[in-house]
Symmetry: none
Subunit: 124 residues, 2 copies
């Protein structure tokens, strides 16, 4: 059971971020006798999931939808499969970005060779 600051520090975020995530329904930590937030391991696990999702370019709203679908639909797996498909679509998009960057890199290398050639011409 950790406090809000301990949790925040261990995940590299601010307390405000944790309160905000709770505000939009992404986290639901417990409360102490004095009404202070207490974060259990399940909360930490969910936070880890959220931060990973963010890293992968999902908006908090998208992450919320995926988590809610998962929570609400434990018996019906149809929605869950759709969540997975959604993620796989994202992966394919990333693959596209990678290949485009590779193209850009090759373009730039060609552009550079043009100048390197000019430089050599001036040396001679």
């Amino acid at each position: 059971m950790k406090s809000i600051r301990e949790t925040a520090v261990s995940f590299g975020v601010t307390p405000r971020t944790l309160r905000y995530y709770e505000e939009i329904g992404l986290l639901t930590p417990g409360r102490s006798s004095g009404n202070q937030r207490v974060y259990a391991s399940q909360d930490a696990a969910r936070l880890k999931l959220i931060l990973r999702g963010k890293k992968y370019g999902f908006s908090l709203e998208e992450i919320r939808e995926m988590i809610l679908l998962f929570d609400e639909d434990r018996s019906g797996r149809k929605q869950l499969e759709r969540s997975i498909e959604y993620g796989e679509k994202r992966i394919r998009e990333i693959e596209t970005v990678i290949s485009e960057f590779q193209l850009l890199k090759e373009e730039m290398e060609g552009w550079l060779m043009h100048f390197e050639q000019k430089l050599k011409e001036e040396e001679s």
Copy 2:
């Protein structure tokens, strides 16, 4: 020579976007006798560059800096060496981005497996 709407439509953006890009110094189209913006092929080329940069996740500010550097390099032909140096730096940066994206893709596949595993647990 195209009007603002023609240009916007052909690039899939709105006129507001083009005015905004001009406002922050990303585009500098000419003006007609009646003070209306006219977009030449150079402007279209630059717009293409901007949109490609956006697609790769660069902010407009980052794109602005890159374009300014690019312009400096092109006008100062005496600084060929520095141009090449800059280009090589950019290529190394792009290589970093590519490898980061590849890592991201792998991690994301792991993230999805979290859901897929839960799916299998429900099956049993």
